[in-house]
Structures are given as C-alpha cells and as structure tokens.
Symmetry: C2
Subunit: 326 residues, 2 copies
C-alpha cells in the first residue's frame, strides 16, 4: 500500500498542510493564517486542527511532519526561538500536538529549509541528484544540505546555514552580526535597498514606474518583471545578486564536494537573470579540481517542497526505525 | 587480539611508514626519501619495500593504508595528479602495490588531509570530539571533515577543501585562481610575503636578525620564535593570520554545524599566537545560534597523525566490510 503522511509548512503568516503520498506527492492542501501573534498555544491549536481534519478523513496516514523556522533539537521533537513567533522559547511540538489529538500519531519537526530540501530531493528539481546543496532566497537566505538522499544535520541538527557564510570579511553586516554574510546581499531587505540606490538615478529604468517615487518598496518580483520587459537596470541588479550567490556557493562546494545546487524561494523565480551570473561566478570560486559535474538549477515545485519534504520526513523516519529494529 | 596495520604517509620529499596498533597507536616508524622526480614506478617500488619490511616481521598486519596528496577515487584505489609528483596522471595504488608484494594484503589510499584528520580523531587532539573540522597549515592550507568519527567524503571523495574557500570575493588570488581563498593568506609563500612587506620597515623587529637582509625567506618558524622572544611585529603577523583563519572557519561552522576545530600543520606550532585571534574572530563570523560549544584547539601529535590515520583507515574499512556482510 502506498503510504500517506501529513506535511505541515509552518510559516510566519500561514500554516499550510498537505496530504503527501509517498509516490504521488501532494494529494490535497489546506492553508490557514498562522496567528503567530496570539502565542504558541493558539498556533498549536491551529496545527492540530489541520491534522485532525486530514486524519479523520484519511485514518491511514502514517504520521505528521512539521517544517518550522527556528532551531530544532537532535530528536526532532522541539523548536526553539523561531523568528517572528513571539514568546515561543522552546516548544515541545510532539508533546503539544499529541495532547491535542484524539489518537496517537508519529510526529516529527525539522527546520523549514531542511524539509524544503528534502521535498526537492524526493519530489522536486533535486530528484535528479543524490546529494545537493539547496539555497532558498526568500526574506532571508536559507540553506540545507542533502547528502545521499538525506538531510545532513551536522553535530546538533543546525547544519546548512549558508545565509550566514561570509564572502567578504570586511563587508556589510547581516542581522546575525556576520560581516559580508551572503544574507547582507541577498536577503530581501538588503537586496531591495541595493536596487533602490543603484537605480535611483537611472531614471529610464522601468522600476521607477513600478515602485513608489522614492523607490522604497522595490520587490524581487518587480525586478524580475522589469527584467522580462528588457530593463537593463533590473537585469544588472539581478546579475549582481547572482554574482554574490556564486561566490558563496563556490565556498560551499569546495568544503562539501557536493557539486549540484538547487535554488528555491521567491527570488529564484527570476531564474536565469540571477542564475546565469551565479553559474559563471561559481566557476571562478570553485577550485578547478572540483569543476567536473558542477550544476546549478532552479527549484520547479515552488514552495510546495516544504509540505512535501515535511511529509517525506515521516516516511524516512519510519524506514530507518524499521531497519534498526530488524 | 589487537589489530595492527601499516600506515603510509606519502609526502613530496619523504615516505614515512608506521606500524599502527589499533589501541596503542604508532609502534614503529620508518622514513625514506620519496624520489618523486624518478616517476611513479620508483615511488611505488619504495612504498612496497617499506610494506615488505614490516609485513615480513609482522605477518599479522591486517592491511595497508596510504595517505597521499592528489585526488582519490571513491573506492580508495587510485590517486590522480598529486602536486609535485611528475608524470603521475592516475595511478592505481592497490593494483600497483599488489603486483609488487609477495602476498595479497588489503590496500587503501585516501587523501593526506583526510587521513591526518582520521589520525587526529582516533589518536590525537580530535579524540575528544565525534565530529570536527581539521585545518592543516603547511605549504598550503589543507582541510578535512570528521563527522561521527568518520571522514566526510562528499559526493566524489574530495570534500574538505577549506584552503580554497573565499573570505573576500575581491581578495588576492590563490594558486587555484580563487580570489580571497584562505590559502592566499595562510599558504606558506603568501604568509611569508605578507610578513616580509609588513616588517620590512619595522627595523626593530627581531625578524631582521633571523632572515636575510631583504627579509626573503621568512619562515613561520622564525615568526613563532620571534613572537616567543616578545617581538611585537611577529606577534602582529601571526595574529593577522589567525584573524583570516577565524573568518573562514566561521563560514565552515555555519555550513556544517560542526563546532569543534583542530588545527595542525607546521604553522600550528605557533599555537595561541595564531589561535587566540582565530578564536575571537570566529565568534564574529559564526551566527550566534551556533556559538554554544565552539572550540578551536591545536593538534598535539604533529605529523604523526598522517601515519596513524592511514593505519586506522584499514581498521575502519574492515569493520564496515564485516558489518555489511553480516
């Protein structure tokens, strides 16, 4: 029988829940507001509601996977200090959900960037690769490492923080306080500011018709649209972003000898406007001995990889448990 | 019975061979010139001679591990293009050695930085850690990742190239053509040149009495000795080197979530003159969420970790083979 699991993508504004079939992927999807400002009890109530909805209609689901921002413990039971979730500290997801559900069900939580990569590995662009580096270009810059079809977790479960890797030790500061961290170039706020200053005197850029008069509120989407319309200024900004991305990916490839990269997240929609310059720059920053087989591609499943990966986490967990008890 | 293996450290100038006891480490050691300029047949004859010497006296050795520069294939049987070994291309170490030996023996080859790290993990400073990053500061900057007591090999076996990671995308070029690669700061030639220019007008530095009049030929050893004698100029150079090391290690920790670092190689003898600034800089370049448990220490077994790790590779291989055939 083909297994099904519930995959939850816990975001700052919306909770998305998907019914994930091991072989067919996403069968059904629900989405509700997170209400993060009302505290963790409220958020957990809402997650439990989504789980109950699915599990009452599909009593054969084998478990629940939750992709969450914040730090996850090694056992995949707790979340600590997720950004934009006021008052969370450390929340024991497994216990909290179990207490709210009418029957016991296997529950796992994993970092959102990690489950997105796992989703890509099994249902998205990453299916072609056994091992790859995933970068997610959204509000911040997320990252994850898939090694031999599994999440590489590091020593405590927090591996993959590509967003905090430096490309210039005297560069601009990111929120983390790391100078020249890639997030200080590609994080949405940083990129928008760069675009604003770069285009403010370029009066013929289409961006001036898209954003407000002072160019505050430039979004990656605007840059992409303007580039599609042939706007040179917007193209330059996106190529600049790709250059920075290529620098950090070069370092990551040198360290990991993982030569396949999948780029996801909102900004990745700009596709080759960013990725072409990332590819050529990466070649400059990877030592020649590791050039063979280098490949950088765009995620094709968009944000669905989050739910898909959260669901798949359950299948993988059950398989490993099965193997170890044999 | 305690197993014994032969560990070979193949260097550009000397071949060292050690008799490695699984529990007691190095029991006996031989060293002969490499004669690399005479081609790979000559080098392999010499390695085979060392193996025969040990295996005739210790017929119970369970195998031979070879630590070699250059690229190693996934099966650990071949070496490709080791720098400073003229005419090697790809050499099948296992076949070549088997053909030269009077009886069959398990033979493995692994990258020299990787075996050094494995040696540290099981017999050196790395024994305290299950997972750590090893950096070797010698002629170049080598690196390796030990994850859960084993070498993390990446997708093709070449992981750990820390020396090629960039800390400044517009920085100086290393031999690899990577701008701002850490080797362009800490590689011996680069560091010596930096020291020379930095100290050339600092006439009161003791370095002027140690190196030739134009300060060509400054060595890391001189810098260490001058620092020990209280020389401020030499101390500044070593602290500068440590700062650069801290930058790249910050990036590596962010990506891997491996928070323990062991520093080996000739320059590491300078100890805290380098490592203190590396430690404080690393704190600036690791995202705060990963600060807990950060630790950077000096390798204590010197270059012996190469032979030790090469020997241990055999024990680990036999254990894995045993497990998988159960």
């Amino acid at each position: 029988m083909i297994r099904k699991a519930i995959g939850i993508d816990l975001g700052g504004t919306a909770i998305k829940a998907g019914l994930v079939s091991e072989s067919e992927g996403l069968l059904e999807e629900l989405s509700i507001p997170t209400d993060a400002e009302e505290g963790h009890h409220r958020v957990l109530d809402r997650i439990a509601g989504l789980i109950s909805d699915f599990s009452s209609r599909f009593p054969d689901v084998v478990g629940v996977g939750v992709g969450s921002p914040g730090a996850i413990n090694w056992d995949r039971t707790t979340v600590s200090s997720p950004p934009n979730f006021p008052g969370w500290q450390t929340v024991h997801i497994e216990n909290e959900l179990t207490a709210r559900l009418s029957r016991p069900i296997t529950t796992l939580v994993e970092n959102d960037a990690n489950v997105a990569a796992l989703g890509s590995a099994h249902y998205g662009a990453g299916q072609r690769f056994n091992s790859f580096i995933m970068v997610t270009l959204g509000t911040g810059v997320g990252g994850a490492i898939i090694y031999q079809n599994k999440i590489f977790r590091g020593a405590t479960g927090a591996a993959g923080e590509i967003g905090h890797m430096t490309i210039d030790y005297e560069g601009p500061f990111a929120r983390s306080g790391v100078a020249g961290a890639i997030e200080a170039y590609l994080g949405q706020r940083f990129l928008s500011r760069h675009a604003r200053y770069r285009l403010i005197n370029k009066k013929d850029s289409l961006i001036h018709r898209m954003a407000a008069a002072d160019l505050k509120g430039i979004t990656p989407k605007m840059l992409h649209e303007a580039a599609e319309l042939g706007d040179e200024g917007a193209k330059e900004v996106l190529a600049w972003a790709g250059h920075k991305l290529g620098c950090v990916l070069g370092s990551a490839v040198n360290l990991l000898d993982i030569r396949k990269i999948v780029v996801g997240g909102g900004l990745s929609a700009a596709g080759d406007y960013i990725l072409d310059s990332a590819r050529s720059t990466m070649l400059q920053f990877v030592t020649p001995a590791l050039h063979e087989g280098l490949e950088l591609i765009q995620e094709t499943r968009g944000n669905d990889v989050g739910m898909l990966g959260a669901g798949h986490l359950v299948f993988q967990y059950l398989d490993e448990k099965g193997n170890s008890s044999e």
